[in-house]
Structure formats: structure tokens, C-alpha cells
Symmetry: C2
Amino acid sequence: MQQRSEETQSQIVKSAIKLFSTHGYTAASVDMICKDAGISKGAFYHHFGSKQTLFLALLDQWLTTIDSSIEAAHHKTVPEMFLQITEAYPYIIKTAEEGLPMFLEFWLQASRDKKIWQASITPYRRYHKYFTALIKKGVEEGSFVEVDPETASRLIVSTAMGLLLQSLLDPEGANWEKVAKESSDMLVNSLLKK
Amino acid sequence: MQQRSEETQSQIVKSAIKLFSTHGYTAASVDMICKDAGISKGAFYHHFGSKQTLFLALLDQWLTTIDSSIEAAHHKTVPEMFLQITEAYPYIIKTAEEGLPMFLEFWLQASRDKKIWQASITPYRRYHKYFTALIKKGVEEGSFVEVDPETASRLIVSTAMGLLLQSLLDPEGANWEKVAKESSDMLVNSLLKK
DNA sequence: AAAAAAATACCGACTGGTCGGTTTGTTTTA
DNA sequence: TAAAACAAACCGACCAGTCGGTATTTTTTT
């Protein structure tokens, strides 16, 4: 019983990720997901209370992987970490291409729902705090020029979000990987002490 | 005949803007818009071929106002223009708060439609070109340091989009007007020749 | 200028279909 | 054999768009 149940659940998740990212959150219907997963609607609602619940589970899973990758870089120096992020650009851009639209859509749709909003804003604020602390540490270490860590954090996150969004709007409009690298060079150059 | 017709049409547009920005593109139904405008569904479809057509008309109208405001600043020097943009932040943020979600939602929903994609990507590319030219002019004038105008343009637009998006996701999370001002100061400082 | 004709603007019930979710009944598993 | 897992028919709300017909305005005719 447990064996089959887990198999079904992971099939639902797998199909959901696939269909949410290709069709978007709204356009990917529960029926569609069930059909793709090769199960019935009854099975779906046996495992997940609602479509929203399923998405929240996906969100949670996604956040966990981010957390663990952050955890893994915990012992490095601040400039090293920034360098590592820079090197991860191709992967980040590819991941964003697939995932960002569905998260954006979900956020927009749920921005009027207090509970959902909370679920998405809490990790966002957590990452912002983490990033701010990182920059503060860099300033204290003496590797960064004296900036307001709060503002610098917003600025860096903004740049990342904006680049990702632009690459989404117009994938063929530029060599986004190159632009991302050069942009972060410009940013880091104005941040790093020489 | 013309008098009444124009009146009806502008009522539809007025209600559409109101409901699209408060409820979002999908959630604002045609019935809803008709009811708010005080007209029938028949009248709606007499004036607009579809819900999408109506939105495209709104988009067009919006772009026209942007174009004319750009036109108005055509004789100023480059640093003056950046300063002016900085001063317009409160207005920009407020406008984005109301309009950006509905445009984002529409774009996400329709991004797989060639025709719609074209209608949104063309003005985007136009503005990018304009902005790039502006920076290039600034560099040639000697007021900016030697940067690649293409990259700098992407960077600036990214920052703006990212800030707008963040302020949308978490309006209470920061004093966004202040963050926007300080961020652009940081950016312009690293761009301006001293 | 008044009547007739034509064109335009408008109404609202209706259609066909979608979607998230429920219910009822069956199979599988422990 | 009882509980968990699943299947499939079903429900009600909703929604974009249609259509036959009516009201209003403009144009043409007399």
C-alpha cells in the first residue's frame, strides 16, 4: 500500500511540475495533470486537498533545494560566494526559464489571498535578510566598499530578477548569459574594494 | 450615433482599466466589465472583437502616453534626463502598482501566442534601443564613464523592473521609494564621470 | 421638411464548454 | 475484513463569445 501510494504521489508531482512549467499554473488543469500522471481525479484529491495545496508543496520542495545549496556554501568567504553565483549563471537562467513563469503567475493570482501570500513572502524575506547579512559581513571584512547593506541587497536582487524577467520576455533579444555576467561584473566592481 | 457610441466605448475602456487592475486580467470577466460600464454584452462585442482585443487597445493607449512623455524630454542633456526620471519615482511606482500586475498576467497568459507576443515585444525592444542610444550619447558627450551601452542599458532596465517587481511582491517590506532613489544613486554614481 | 429606408448601436438570453472539486462505488493492501 | 487507495461519473459555478431581435440615429427619397 505504501509503495504504490508513494509512487502515485511522486507521479502527480512529476506531471504537475512538467505541466505547470509548460502551460502555466492556471492553464494546467487538474484533469490534465491526472491524465498525464496516468491516475484518476479521485487519486489526485486523495493525495492533495486542492490544486493550490499541490502548488504549495512544489514551492516548499523548491525552497528546500535552494536552502541546501545555500547551506553548502556557508564556509566560504563573501567574494568567493559571489564568484560562485556568477559561475552558476547558465544553470540559474535555465532553471528560471522553466520555473519563473509559473511562480510569477501563481504569485500574481494569489496576491489577494492572505494565506498564500504569506507562504511566498516569508521565504522571500528570509533570503533578503540572508543576503543583507552577507553584504554586511563583506563590508565588515573589508572586501566591500562602505555601502548600505540593505539597499545593496535590494539592488542586487532587483538586478537578478530584472535580468531573469527580461530574458523571459525576449529570449532571443540578447545573449542573456553574457549580459548577466557583464552586469554582475559591473555591479561587483562598484561594490568591491580595490 | 457617434456621440453615444464614443461614450459607450470610453465607458468600457474606463471600467476595463479599473477592473483589470483591481482583479487582474483573467479574474475580471467580460460580464463584470459590462455590468460596471452599465452596458450589455452585445454592446461590448459590438465595440471590441474579443477580451484580448480590448486589452491590446489598452496596451496601445498606455504605450502612446509613454511615447509622448519621452518625446517631451527630447531636448535635455543625458544626465538631466536621468535626474528627471529619478524625480518621477513616486509617480512611476504608483503607476506600476496599478498597471504592472495586469500586464504581467496578460503577458504570461498570452506569451505562447505569436501575435500577442509581437505586440508586447516590439515596444520593449524599441525602448531598449532608445535607452541604449541615450547611454551611448552620454558616453560620447563625456558625462559617462566608458561602458558598453548595450549592457548598461540592460542593467538599468533590469534594476527598474526588479525593484518594481519586488515592491509588488512585498509592498510593506521596505520603503521602496527610498530604496529606488538610493539604488539609482548607486547606479548613476558608478556610471557618471567624476 | 416629413416619411421611408438603411445603417449603426444595443440588448440579454443562450450556447458550448471548462474547471475545480465531490460523491459513490470498486479494488488493493496490510 | 477493514482501511487505504483509486476509478469514474457527476455537480455547480463560471465564462467568453453568439445570435435573433429591438432601439436609435443617420441618410435618402419624395
